[in-house]
Symmetry: D3
Subunit: 169 residues, 6 copies
């Protein structure tokens, strides 16, 4: 069974790695789909995000990283993905995930294939970590090595990615 872990991974964090490791233990093959997300202010280009995800996930044999665009259901159909895996950290994220799961299932079903969504509850260590927070902290040149894989810390750690802060103070 082939699973998809979709996200913008801007950048990939230790929380993402944890979810992907767990997905890789549950399913035969996992595609990490790095999407474009026009609604967010990106820190890194898609190419950089794929490169860092590959470096961070090189230790898991049944995981591949791919850039992804267009409708999620299209991607799943072409790549024969039958299950979408997402981490769930907060109750307040559930309603959005429920909507996505149901509409993806209905659109896939309309095209004649089954598309399941499974949610993995966060582990306690990474229960509140988010790329948004990491981007914010990194934008001030702050050390982020406790939150992200080594490759990401090296890439962003020198403070050379100045970015307009986006978080509420």
């Amino acid at each position: 069974m082939r699973a998809l872990c979709p996200g913008s991974f801007d950048p990939i964090t230790n929380g993402h790695v944890d979810v992907i490791e767990r997905a890789a233990a549950l399913f035969d093959e996992v595609i990490v789909g790095v999407g474009q997300n026009s609604a967010k202010h990106n820190l890194l280009t898609p190419t950089d995000r794929v490169k860092l995800a590959k470096a961070a996930l090189a230790h898991i044999p049944n995981v591949g990283v791919e850039e992804m665009s267009g409708l999620l259901v299209d991607f799943c159909e072409k790549r024969e993905v039958t299950v979408i895996v997402k981490g769930l950290r907060f109750a307040s994220d559930f309603d959005y995930e429920l909507q996505m799961a149901q509409i993806n299932e209905e659109v896939a079903s309309n095209r004649g294939f089954k598309l399941e969504t499974v949610l993995l509850p966060a582990t306690s260590r990474w229960g509140t970590l988010s790329s948004t927070m990491v981007r914010e902290v990194a934008s001030f040149g702050e050390d982020i090595s406790m939150f992200v894989p080594k490759a990401v810390a090296e890439r962003l750690g020198d403070g050379s990615e100045p970015q307009e802060p986006t978080l509420e103070v």
Copy 2:
């Protein structure tokens, strides 16, 4: 008693139609107020949104569709609306609706009239449907006829409304 169902209806969905039918069964007259919403990326012009809402609601005799702008309380005062009706699909939407209900009530009361807000819990069939999801799916030329009234599916179904995708993958 005259009720108002406000929204951006971009486009009107089967979930909206369900809420408006239920409002029309509860109150003498229902105005569907099609608002401008500068905070959202619109797919359709206000004129088109009004036209599609009229087509989708033509079967309900005590419902009218109007374009609406300015302060909601102003509109209610001018049109002698005494109750606002909104659908509620998710617990996570409630806090926003509670704020809106209380501030509308306070501003109306300050002007000397009563303005009530009632929330209709979603029916199970349309419990997670949203215009945002429908816009996203339609933007890829996907069939949306199971989610929207016939007039909307015909208008958007030919994929001629390309739009930058706005949802998280």
Copy 3:
């Protein structure tokens, strides 16, 4: 249109009175249904709860108070109630109300009649008031006159209703 405001009203609070006044302004007639609730520790007998609700609501001409038992849908069918009205104070109460609304609608529909549920968002003054809290405070002989109608404060205010405390300290 006849509406039902169901509850255990043990005792009726200022928050209940606010919701019932608003329901009475929206619908022709309102029945306040005082139910038995075996899952809760009751402070007052059903008879006392009906008596106090009647005293507290005597100023609203189109409101009646009745004791109620059995299946809610049964009561609505017999008394020709077509809309259930409930106050909603917290997002965390919504999921329960959504379940109740949908199952009541399905059971009524199975019997051949329509049963709608509308939720009234709490007003800011009584947004966090509950009978449970009032019972707890009253059980220690504390003054509760700022939370309840005059008849309730007189009945419970003398501290003569000692009760085992049930709230977490």
Copy 4:
């Protein structure tokens, strides 16, 4: 990979069947674990709950039904279960599931094995259905055939299981 769907199944509903069918499509083998739940008021005996679950799930070849008691992690260790599957209908249920997932993972890890929890978001058709509501409705001799498998409706449908109502009116 062997999965466990734990619950009290008092009685098994169409919502449970949906989750178990989906779990059976994801994993090699699924054990439906019928637990005792002293905190709830039971309608059916464990023996009856197992019997009805077996009847309702007979069409899924890789599913077995077992009575279960004691610590969940113990059961998983003995039966070589590596993943727990639960349906998730509401955001408000998530915090409890997160706690359970994390403590089960920690206790299992302490004993030297891996125990994963995956949550399946409810399908729209059964998004708000619960055994509690079904028990309540059945307790009044009401028809419940639209909510439960055929075997359950036959067993409870004759109203011969009178039960003290436990829901708030």
Copy 5:
């Protein structure tokens, strides 16, 4: 300023100790109030709960442990407590805490003194830990030393406190 950390502490966990240490760093003196909670199934007697809390908190000089009964506001008035401190782990716990904070403030204000409530967000390490879960696991004689102070693990760790399990499987 004297603060109160109320709870049933049945038993005190590492999460409680974390909140109390943080309260002790914010305020001059902290009373840990061990309450009776008739709504919960207790594992330990009040005397034992006080004894274990004292052992677990002996390292914090400005913390005292006391048994507590009656109305919380009464206790605060007698002991000249002006601020209540509670940990907050989940969004779903907030509505209850908000109710308690507001009613305590109103009752205190009615008696002529100020009573503030402050909520400390959980640290990530103990973000989902609860006495209920610990009681459940301990009831099966399972090792709980990673969740509780040493004194508690020694007291409960020998499995000599058999208890009817109360959690949903």
Copy 6:
């Protein structure tokens, strides 16, 4: 102990004043930090927001108002702030506050100092008030004097701050 109440205060409302008064009663000194928030559409310039906050808080002796930019933890380190105080009105705001509290604590700890976050539950009077709602209402020249301090009402009350409405109708 020096506390920080951070926010964009665009404009300061009666709800903010309530939280700051309570913070000033708990801690020796309170800095009100007026931040830039590029993610929000601002109504007032930072200079104006500081000026209005100073006018609204002039009655509290141990409160100062400062403009603030850059990383919050930086500001706290330079100004020797050891506790951040935020109001909490809704359960749905908690998950964000929990994330902020934990990442601020980790970044501060990485730099060698302790940074605590305390949340004050809203009082019932201002439980649903927000700057966003006030901005919206003020943008139509509506009277906002019941929601904001006198200085703010005078500054915005003449309707001379036209602004594109940003709220959903």
